[in-house]
């Protein structure tokens, strides 16, 4: 009862849809990377909180939200079209 063979190459629209899904999967990884980056900030030089830290985190956060919002319509539109192929 294997699933039927998938085609090897896709038309343009499904191709884009799959890459969008890939991007949606990569996004949290990128987010984690950016949010873990402060661990590498020099620990001794900055003993206190600065406004720069706050701005960095909120900028990253907002950036992730904006990208996710850009992805969401395409992802939910494509759903169901060729759903079982992922």
């Amino acid at each position: 009862m294997r699933r039927p063979r998938r085609p090897l190459f896709l038309a343009r629209a499904p191709y884009r849809r799959r890459r969008l899904r890939d991007a949606a999967r990569i996004l949290p990884v990128l987010g984690l990377f950016l949010l873990l980056l402060p661990m590498l900030w020099a620990p001794d030089a900055r003993m206190a909180l600065t406004a720069g830290d706050v701005i960095y985190f909120f900028a990253v956060w907002l950036g992730l939200i904006v990208v996710a919002a850009a992805f969401a319509p395409g992802l939910s539109r494509g759903e169901g079209a060729d759903e079982d192929e992922d």
């Binding site: 661990m39 909180l49 706050v54 909120f58 956060w61 992730l64 939200i65 939910s76 759903e79």
Partner: protein
């Protein structure tokens, strides 16, 4: 501001929430939800992630530990923007299997095991109790702030009394709207909408306080940035282990917290809402935390020490004389606390009633499935469970005295619920995860969490004796709660997270790898893991002996009369029957179980239908037995098939042999008629001429001529008979070969000389390559020479070129020698090439050839006896025959 006004506002607010929930329930009952089913409401309802811990505690957290409070929001942000990985699957599974709670999900995934459901329920209740206590405490603290701020101090405030009233009020609201009915899916539109309203209130309140602090007190964004830079926020720096650990922890919690699971999966109306929430919910979190740092910094500036930073959200506006703003902030905090408690207690009550109380009740009263009014029993169980959960929370608050910092309790609760994560993630992505593995993992995680995090949180000497902290349990130093196995480098939180998750995962994986899942488990595992592939839904029920009437009675008890009757009626109509009683087909039983499990959980629904179908045990085992029986039948029929195939093969062979025999018989007849004809012709002329001779008085020369004719004909007869004899000997393989070494050149010489007798009048040019002929063959030289003579004679006879030529080419290859005889005549027509080796085959007029047409047939038989062959070689410009003989004939081919 007067304290009484505050209480009045509180009551008004609660009344408003009651009204909202009531109106929405009414609309839901009439099926007119409209925009209430929008992604907006879904996203806002998710905001119960932000409890009073967030509303008050985040400021305190920031004041104590700098930006670390952000990790609590980063985890959920990552989970939601990565919804395509996990949440999508979780929501699909939840909808497809009508999951009612996280305990139901785990129990359903691992073969509808109720034991697992109980374990998860226990973990959730234990972890949620301090969390609920935390909410009560925050409300009491907030009341306390207002009471102490009241100038007249007219009324001494009893915190315990407030806590009691808050708990009772929450229990009343939850029971009223959370257990109104047993829906097919465990959805509560009224409560969800009320929570969405509360989400707006708390967001507006926090933003209002934040704006006031930034622009009202600090004097603008630039000022705030300066203050942040100047502030000494407790030497903040990122500690890698703790930072990563907290992000992981909050990511795990947002999936596993019972209340989050309730609104995210169970109350989900439409999977499409998740796409919108994937960015809208992180945006909500961002808005909630936008002003946390400014509030903390400004609060610390104002009260360098002493004041409780957890209450800055209230105390800052109060200190500035902004009574209304403080009231709004209070309502925001109140909203956070109440919404969390309401949903959490509903989620926990669902688990407790479905996995603990109802199974217990069914166990105590067997046969109850069709007997009493289960609907009322389930609802009553829910109500009792809600009351019990709130009582537990209140009890914890009383015992702990409400002293610990909010954030610490929150993290401990997060870590508790995160113990479910391995079993859950493993369950929906790994088909190999088994019930035993999940159970081991959960129990291990629970024990380690309790030992390293939960029990120590009561302080040394409270739950664990003080010496355990310094000496370790049983005096074993490697068992110290904050330094298991000697790992002292981590802070207690990271330490507990590290060890509980590590040992949990280890036990889960080992248990899963080493055990074998039962049939139901494997079916459910496949259905969960491959939820997007569809059509793997397990067929659970064989056609049972269930009485449809009993089923209807039971369904009525759970779903309510109207719903159950319409369900049965539509099922009966789908089967083409009138009335309310459909046949208990497997499909119908499946759909009924799915409906029931939406109300009482998968394990209970399964058990109840099992009772009625007449088998106390799960019928999948029976199904498997049936399957193995049919597998045996299949095997048997496969064997039959194989035998039949063999038979038909034999029959085919027989038919072939028969055809061959028929052909041979025909051939024999043809041979006989041919041979009689061949014998008859010379016999006729011999008889005729001998008759003439016996009459006498003939001239002597005529006598001589006739005598010569008779002699020739007799010779021809003899030759024919010789050939026939020879052929029959050769064909029978009874020929005696005299093997010996002989020169090929010699044989060809002999053959050429002998063949000169045939049509001696023709001049024949023979082209030979003598060096290539110096080969010694081990064969029967006489027989081979006979073949050569025959071929050369044929060439002499039939070659019709004006200047006839015969080329003899010898080649040796791989132990075989080929001798080609090629003349320059016009060759043999293509359609005749296959005939020339047959007996009596003559292409041209028999008289001209003077032979019986047996020559080539004899050649073929001789060559077969010599282990070689003779074949016609087409495309050589004339008639060409190739003789192939082995260089050394070792054994007789016969």
């Amino acid at each position: 501001m007067p304290f009484n006004l505050l209480v009045l506002a509180c009551l008004l607010y609660v009344a408003f929430l009651f009204a909202v929930a009531f109106v929405v329930e009414g609309r839901a009952a009439r099926g007119r939800l409209g925009w209430l089913r929008s992604p907006l409401v879904y996203t806002l309802s998710l905001s119960i992630y932000c409890t009073a811990w967030t509303f008050y505690g985040a400021v305190g957290y920031a004041a104590r530990s700098g930006l670390e409070f952000l990790t609590i929001y980063f985890g959920p942000t990552l989970v939601f923007i990565g919804w395509w990985w996990l949440l999508r699957k979780l929501v699909r599974i939840g909808r497809q299997h009508r999951v009612t709670s996280i305990a139901d999900l785990i129990s359903s995934r691992y073969g509808k095991s109720n034991a697992l459901g109980v374990i998860v329920t226990v973990i959730m209740v234990v972890a949620a109790t301090p969390y609920i206590a935390l909410q009560l405490q925050s409300v009491v603290l907030a009341f306390g702030v207002f009471a102490s701020a009241a100038p007249d101090g007219s009324r001494p405030l009893d915190p315990a009394q407030i806590a009691v009233w808050v708990a009772v009020g929450l229990a009343a609201f939850t029971i009223l709207f959370g257990t109104r009915n047993l829906d097919a899916r465990e959805q509560h539109h009224g409560i969800v909408t009320a929570i969405a309203v509360e989400a707006v209130v708390k967001l507006v309140a926090l933003l209002a306080v934040g704006s006031f602090v930034v622009w009202g007190i600090a004097g603008g964004v630039g000022e705030v940035i300066q203050r942040i830079n100047a502030a000494d926020l407790s030497a903040w720096q990122v500690q890698p282990g703790r930072w990563t650990g907290l992000i992981f922890l909050s990511a795990a919690a947002v999936i596993c917290l019972p209340r989050m699971f309730q609104v995210m999966v169970v109350e989900n109306e439409d999977e499409g809402h998740l796409a919108r929430a994937s960015w809208a919910f992180p945006l909500y979190l961002l808005a909630m935390s936008l002003f946390i740092v400014p509030i903390a910094v400004v609060g610390l500036d104002r009260w360098p020490d002493g004041a409780n930073p957890d209450m800055f959200v209230l105390t800052l506006p109060l200190a500035e004389g902004q009574g209304a703003l403080a009231m709004l902030a209070f309502l925001g905090g109140f909203s956070s606390a109440t919404s969390m408690v309401i949903v959490e207690s509903i989620a926990l009550a669902t688990m407790i009633s479905n996995h603990v109380m109802i199974p217990l009740w069914l166990r105590l009263r067997p046969g109850a499935a069709a007997g009493d009014d289960l609907r009322q029993v389930v609802l009553m169980a829910r109500r009792l469970a809600i009351a019990a959960v709130l009582a537990l929370g209140y009890g914890y608050y009383q015992v702990s005295g409400g002293s610990a910092a909010l954030a610490a309790i929150g993290l401990i609760a997060f870590l508790g619920v995160a113990q479910v994560l391995p079993a859950m993630i493993g369950g929906i992505f790994w088909r190999g995860a088994t019930r035993v593995g999940a159970m081991l993992g959960l129990v291990t995680g629970l024990v380690v969490w309790a030992y390293t995090s939960f029990l120590p949180s009561f302080g040394p000497g409270a739950a664990l004796p003080a010496e355990v902290f310094t000496e370790g349990a049983f005096g074993l130093a490697w068992l110290r709660p904050h330094a298991l196995f000697g790992t002292e480098a981590m802070d207690p939180m990271t330490h507990a997270l590290f060890w509980s998750m590590a040992l949990n995962c280890l036990a889960f994986c080992l248990g899963s790898l080493l055990t074998f899942p039962g049939p139901v488990e494997r079916l459910q595992g496949a259905a969960f893991v491959n939820v997007f592939e569809g059509a793997v839904g397990p067929q659970r029920w064989a056609r049972g002996q269930a009485n449809p009437e009993d089923l209807l009675i039971m369904a009525q008890r759970i779903l309510g009369e109207e719903a159950a009757q319409s369900l049965f009626q539509s099922a009966a109509r789908a089967q083409g029957k009138e009335g309310f009683l459909p046949d208990p087909t497997p499909a119908f039983l499946d759909s009924l179980e799915a409906r029931l499990s939406g109300s009482v959980g998968a394990a209970t629904a399964h058990a109840m239908i099992s009772q009625l179908v007449g088998r106390a045990t799960v019928t999948v085992e029976d199904l498997m037995a049936v399957a193995s029986e049919s597998a045996q039948i299949l095997e048997y029929s496969a064997r039959l098939e194989a035998r039949e195939a063999e038979l038909s093969r034999t029959a085919g062979a027989l038919r072939e042999a028969n055809e061959k025999l028929t052909q041979l018989s025909l051939q024999k007849d043809a041979f006989l008629s041919q041979i009689s004809h061949e014998l008859r012709t010379p016999m006729t002329s011999i008889r005729a001429f001998s008759e003439i001779l016996t009459e006498g008085d003939l001239p002597p020369e005529t006598v001589v001529r006739y005598g010569q004719i008779i002699h020739d004909e007799a010779k021809r007869l003899t030759r024919l008979l010789d050939d026939l004899l020879d052929l029959s000997v050769l064909e029978n393989g009874a020929v005696q070969l005299t093997l010996g070494l002989a020169s090929l050149q010699g044989m060809i010489d002999t053959a050429l000389t002998a063949a000169r007798a045939t049509r001696p009048e023709r001049e024949f040019l023979v082209i030979r390559d003598l060096p290539s002929e110096t080969i010694y063959l081990k064969t029967d030289a006489d027989r081979l020479t006979q073949v050569f003579i025959n071929l050369i004679s044929n060439a002499r006879k039939y070659c019709d070129a004006p200047r006839p030529e015969l080329r003899i080419a010898v080649r040796q290859r791989a132990g075989r020698v080929t001798v080609d005889f090629i003349d320059n005549g016009k060759g043999i027509p293509k359609d005749a090439q296959s005939l020339i080796f047959e007996k009596f085959a003559r292409l041209t007029d028999a008289n001209r050839a003077g032979g019986a047409g047996l020559g080539l047939a004899i050649c073929r038989e001789i060559m077969a006896n010599l282990g070689g062959s003779v074949a016609y070689l087409p495309g050589q410009g004339g008639a060409a025959f190739r003789v192939t003989v082995p260089l050394r004939l070792e054994t007789l081919a016969a």
